[in-house]
Symmetry: C2
Subunit: 373 residues, 2 copies
């Protein structure tokens, strides 16, 4: 294999594929990227088995020659090293010349690197097949799903299923749900009727796909039994699904609520952040006390002192109520709504409560209160 | 004590004084700031014994009232908490009211904090006396000393004296020296004749003082037996000196050199950084090979491969020479010179070499080569 390539294009491709390469690899060969030049162009693949990213660079784009002076072939090159080289070289073009698929010479400007590389046959066969149930989402829809729900998924591996985002399509609606069992986030997107599936995609993979969507207008997703395949522009991303059944979360949304509080999202967030300075004895736990006469957020530390924040502008409906919650959960829920105003619906002191924006019923956040002593 | 103060001014003062408060304090009372209002204004003091910072906020500045509605007094308040509060409060003014020197009420906007605080008598007596040998440096002079030498001081406590910057004034010259024994940086500044002293100031304290010099035109320094006192604008900084004699480094500068290399600083730095990607077997060690025919920087890893960087533009005087060095040391030395061109003077393969800029003889960098096998 041999080619001369515009450095910026190569770097972009290497950086995309290398996102799938783990910093500590379990299988040594996966510390490498597979670099393959065929009649269509240059394919660069990185993988950690759970996540595989393959990206593509064509020979020409809009009459601009990207790859020239080439001979087809393939090799495996250390991901970290090749990314660093492509990043730090100052020249416009880089020439890669692989001799006998075991030594790659990378040159350009005054630089010449000789890297030991590995025959492409050593790379595992990775399933990038796009069969299965198909769904296309616009970038803004995918962005919204990720921004409004992914943070609520668990980051702990004790219950792997909770690290997933549950995606369920039926009756013209895609419902994305994430929960770590103490809070839940749900987003609904209207889709074409006739698309039916259930898939549990690791939430961090959804975030990863969203990162890679820059400059792309839509993503085609194919869900099969064990994997989801995302195609966006010149990049294909395959992620394993999380095995097991997602907990039934439909019943968690309270049918009847007894209290409602409407406040400015920014006023509330700032007040929570300020009160939170004193959440020392019980980390991040703040109290919200409300009645028709006033709304207060407070926190107390026996050693250090106490904080009381008055919210001046509010609409409250209901009897007097005091509730304690994890401030990080409520701040994240409010942030995810992305709206100027936010409405809280409470059932009672110890029941999960709803955080939503009346203008956008497609997204709902639920937070479980914290028991106070 | 009681006062209402403009929040921005208070925050600025708190942030300055709190830089002296250690994140993990050995003596609990030093987790606090001393806040004292007297007839001159508000004094805020933070300390970790090695470093003490006291800053001052006047009642009025340029006819603008900063502190109003006041009653003199003092208290000790938890540094981290009060800084966070002053940072996060949204209001223009904050009122601090200390009852019985043990409870401070901090209020403003819709916020009210009650903080447990400590009587001012519990704070240690800190020496902020400005007697001793005096020296005034302009900001640009102090900046240059710190930027061009401090990085070369040791960060390891095995030989505490090497964590200091050696400042020596005599015959109208201030010489600042820092070395970790593998490299050395020296800067000379012309000062008034008749100022004579030797002081070993912890290099990280010099960096700290430099951070606090923003917006100040000069610093007055007083050196006494055990401390250096820096006065800059409304802030006074006291730092202990490092005990012991600084090693005699005068002899390290080679008198006769046999090789000289002049190159563009940026070309050289980039070439070193690129070759350094392959400095894996011996971390950060690169080779520099030079003759009249060419200059090359290279690095090699038996596992991964090799890098060769050619420097196209150079002036070399001498026989053929190959030398190995710690790339970080040479990069830091070149960066510290801050010049477009850089000159290397070599004695031989294993002798310390000089890195300097011919246009500025006030600064000199010396690096010891690394033995190659």
């Amino acid at each position: 294999m041999r080619f001369t390539i515009r450095r910026e294009e190569l770097l972009k491709g290497l950086m995309i594929a290398s996102r799938a390469v783990a910093s500590k690899v379990a299988v040594p060969v996966l510390a490498n990227l597979k670099v393959e030049l065929n009649e269509r162009g240059l394919f660069i693949t990185g993988s950690n088995y759970d996540l595989t990213i393959r990206t593509f660079i064509p020979y020409k784009q809009d009459e601009l020659e990207i790859i020239r002076n080439f001979k087809e072939g393939a090799t495996l090159i250390n991901s970290k090293i090749i990314v660093e080289i492509a990043r730090k070289m100052g020249c416009e073009e880089i020439t890669l010349d692989v001799i006998d698929s075991t030594i790659a010479t990378i040159s350009g400007g005054g630089s010449e690197y000789k890297l030991n590389c590995i025959k492409p046959e050593e790379y595992p066969d990775l399933d990038l097949d796009s069969s299965g149930t198909k769904l296309t989402l616009r970038k803004d829809q995918f962005d919204a799903i990720v921004a409004q729900t992914s943070f609520a998924a668990s980051t702990k591996e004790q219950r792997p299923i909770l690290t997933a985002m549950n995606l369920e399509a039926a009756n013209g609606l895609l419902v994305a749900t994430a929960t770590d069992s103490a809070r839940l986030a749900r987003k609904e997107i209207e889709i074409d009727r006739g698309i039916d599936f259930v898939a549990n995609v690791p939430a961090k993979m959804m975030v990863e796909v969203d990162h890679l969507m820059e400059g792309v207008e839509s993503v085609d997703i194919a869900f099969s039994d064990k994997k989801a395949l995302f195609s966006l522009g010149r990049t294909v991303i395959a992620t394993r699904l999380v095995a097991g059944d997602y907990p039934n979360t439909r019943g968690i949304l309270p049918r009847i609520t007894n209290y409602s509080l409407e406040v400015n999202a920014s006023d509330l967030s700032k007040a929570i952040e300020r009160a939170n300075i004193l959440s020392i004895d019980r980390e991040n736990v703040v109290d919200l006390a409300m009645s028709e006469d006033g709304v207060e957020i407070s926190a107390k530390s026996s050693q250090v002192g106490s904080a009381v924040e008055k919210i001046e502008l509010f609409k409250f409906d209901g009897q007097q109520l005091k509730i304690s919650f994890n401030s990080e959960f409520v701040l994240a829920a409010v942030r995810a709504l992305g709206s100027d105003d936010v409405t809280f619906l409470f059932v009672g002191e110890m029941k999960p409560f709803v955080v939503k924006n009346n203008a956008d019923p497609s997204v709902i956040q639920i937070v479980t209160p914290v028991r106070t002593y």
